[in-house]
Symmetry: C2
Subunit: 437 residues, 2 copies
């Protein structure tokens, strides 16, 4: 496609980052389309920006001037689903939740579940090594990938990894390609691991706390007790207020944090009862518990509304720091301090069991770029996360948004290695230039 | 050290591969020793062969003529163990089981448990991405590593990864270094993930079958039923005979295979009862079940004797193919056929839940190199494993022993990428040359 109005919709992701003017867009329907595109791009030294559904939150799929957008969204086949081997072979455009649903017909599940999983693609999840709510028990996308078919920058095709659960033949190219944000190759097929789906509905609790410190202590206690939640989400007061504004949830004046947890284990009700006790022991003012699917949906529904509720408040810069679990309360405190110091509204949701926080910086609707005070607050949040032994991004990726902080975390030798590896895969530098590293 | 008699003991691993004559050996006690060694080696273009305890089974630590052996075995400090964050920071010479024991004092465990874990080092486990018996539930070494400190070939130090459970800043250098068999850098510190130790002793079963086909079907049924064993080992008739010869275990004439399984879950007894049912339903002639620690030790003890029992029969070439789980019985059949066709004694033990088989090719004691019929049988086994969608090595690594089959699995484009990555990390090619890729 070369119609510039149409292309524009393929040139951006879910961030505010303004794209350039791409030359055109290719909607690949086969590996051969991808090969042809990349051979042409190599011959003509044209940058290629691969993309899935464009739900990224770091600008990783933002297309620049003179580039070709290469969409994999039309490659939607689930080529194989083997219950005996608990694997599936999928094209990159498969919607994440569709794969999960297909697996569930066989008593299996595809575990990685980024919040966008009803609209994001497996290919996009692979590019960013996406996380999700179930990570706390089942790991991130990389933990569910066994092998890849990849078209390299010069159009050559390579198969990495395997169909087996274990394997150590050669370097881990599969793991290297996952999370490389389309800068090393274009994934045209993935062999992913499925897991047994829980055999009954999960048991769930939602606990309210008068302080974040107490909620953080409850998280630590739950982990230390070995309760192994399959989901554990923390919402701060600012997030709860935004949700209460949108849909009255009867938010109490003294509630400063809510912790929502689940267990999908066979003894899940006992695990949730234990988590309830630990919340109460750590000062929870109210705890609801349920194992009925409808009530569970209501409890989890509060968490699901978080992003939509924040978008009503203004434009959103969604951040993604991750800290050692014991530093969770400290990190939330630092986020709140940055909000006050810079006069910025920040609403925070955390995948608490992983120490992964999403502070959402809210600024005025219609503003093209976040104002300076937002960047100043962001900078403070990143600096503090790193000082706690944390990282800039737990699951969203670096894209273009976080490149300016990269050296602060990784340092010059890692930068050298990144660029040497990039050159090994893509010597002309045509694959998604200016992203990830 | 430059005394050639002493060096010789540092120049070999547990394989029959004969080393060359190294120039000397360095027993590093600090990162600085490693930096000094590698800077000197770079200046003088001298190959460096890093090693841990030398328990490898693929010749990965075999030192060549004119090389420097760099032993990390004296770097044995557990620098940090954080129960709150469930991580440990360790030097590479720490014995794997020692880390596990240190973790258990805090109700935690270090999950990866290669059979050699009482004598192997974390550094060696990292170099080979070692597996073990608990992999079926807890994954391989790579799944337990969060970050590394690594000295590069030129003596520069790099920190990869992080202390957090999740993180996607830049390429996955940690995962790339794990399993690279000392060819990309020398690991001087690792930040590893610990897990909650099971709160009670595991429940265990041992089932005897009149055919391998039935045992294979029981494995499939156990997986399909979602029993999630924490260990599931299969022993063939040849292995059982070797064990029975060494220590009378009352092996019945009709027993062709034994399956030993465990569950360490909180409802482990129920899980093992279900596994017992499934064994019986699939033709088991006898099943013993226990959850007493002493009886469990006896049942597992049979498996532990396997390697020692085989070593009494002759010199051993221990192989390590891995196939999709549903192909387990097919692969065992192919191994037996190769044994008959080539007149070679092969005893097979499998980490059945992972599809990872260890056919042990037995040949005459005192023979320097396996005879041609052993190589012919090995070749047939590898070829068959690959035809089933399997891999040459599930957990031991490529070393020098499996390089001749590498292209058959990986192909020329992967080879190119391997060598480009190697050149990016080690442009002079001084790190463990001739291994892994």
């Amino acid at each position: 496609m070369t119609d510039s109005d149409v292309i524009d919709s393929y040139a951006r992701d879910r961030t505010f980052v303004e794209p350039g003017k791409p030359l055109g867009a290719v909607l690949a329907t086969s590996r051969e389309d991808v090969e042809t595109t990349l051979r042409w791009a190599t011959e003509n030294r044209v940058p290629v920006v691969p993309r899935g559904a464009g739900t990224g939150l770091a600008g990783g799929a933002t297309a620049g001037d003179g580039s070709i957008v290469l969409s994999l969204a039309k490659m939607t086949a689930i080529r194989e689903l083997s219950p005996a081997d608990e694997i599936a072979v999928v094209e990159p455009g498969v919607i994440t939740a569709d794969l999960d649903r297909a697996a569930r017909e066989h008593g299996l599940m595809y575990a990685p579940d980024p919040s966008s999983y009803e609209i994001s693609t497996i290919g996009g999840n692979l590019a960013t090594n996406a996380g999700g709510l179930r990570c706390v028990k089942y790991g991130v996308t990389r933990d569910s990938v066994l092998g890849l078919e990849v078209v390299l920058a010069d159009g050559r095709v390579v198969n990495t990894g395997r169909r087996t659960l274990k394997g150590v033949t050669g370097y881990d190219l599969t793991g290297l390609l996952v999370g490389s944000e389309g800068t090393l190759g274009v994934i045209t097929e993935a062999t992913v691991r499925l897991r047994r789906a829980p055999q009954r509905p999960p048991a769930t609790f939602a606990a309210e706390f008068g302080s974040l410190r107490e909620a953080g202590a409850a998280v630590s206690a739950i982990v230390a007790a070995g309760c192994q939640p399959s989901l554990m989400e923390l919402l701060d007061r600012a997030t709860l207020e935004a949700i209460d504004d949108m849909r009255n949830i009867g938010l109490e004046a003294e509630t400063m944090a809510m912790l929502i947890g689940q267990s999908d284990a066979s003894d899940g009700e006992a695990a949730v009862a234990r988590m309830e006790e630990l919340c109460t022991a750590n000062g929870a003012t109210f705890v609801a518990v349920s194992s009925s699917p409808q009530e569970t949906e209501q409890l989890i529904g509060v968490r699901r509304m978080a992003y939509e509720a924040k978008e009503r408040l203004g434009a959103c810069l969604v951040e993604d720091v991750c800290v050692p679990r014991s530093a969770l309360a400290d990190m939330i405190g630092a986020i709140e301090a940055a909000a006050v110091r810079h006069g910025v509204r920040i609403c925070t949701v955390a995948h608490a069991g992983d120490g992964n926080l999403h502070p959402v910086f809210v600024f005025e609707h219609g503003t093209v770029e976040p104002p300076p005070e937002v960047w100043a607050a962001t900078d403070e949040v990143f600096t503090h996360a790193l000082s706690l032994g944390g990282t800039l991004t737990g699951e969203h990726g670096v894209g273009v948004l976080k490149r300016r902080w990269l050296d602060m975390e990784a340092g010059p030798v890692v930068r050298d290695l990144h660029h040497s590896i990039k050159a090994a895969f893509d010597p002309l530098g045509i694959l998604n230039p200016g992203k990830a590293i």
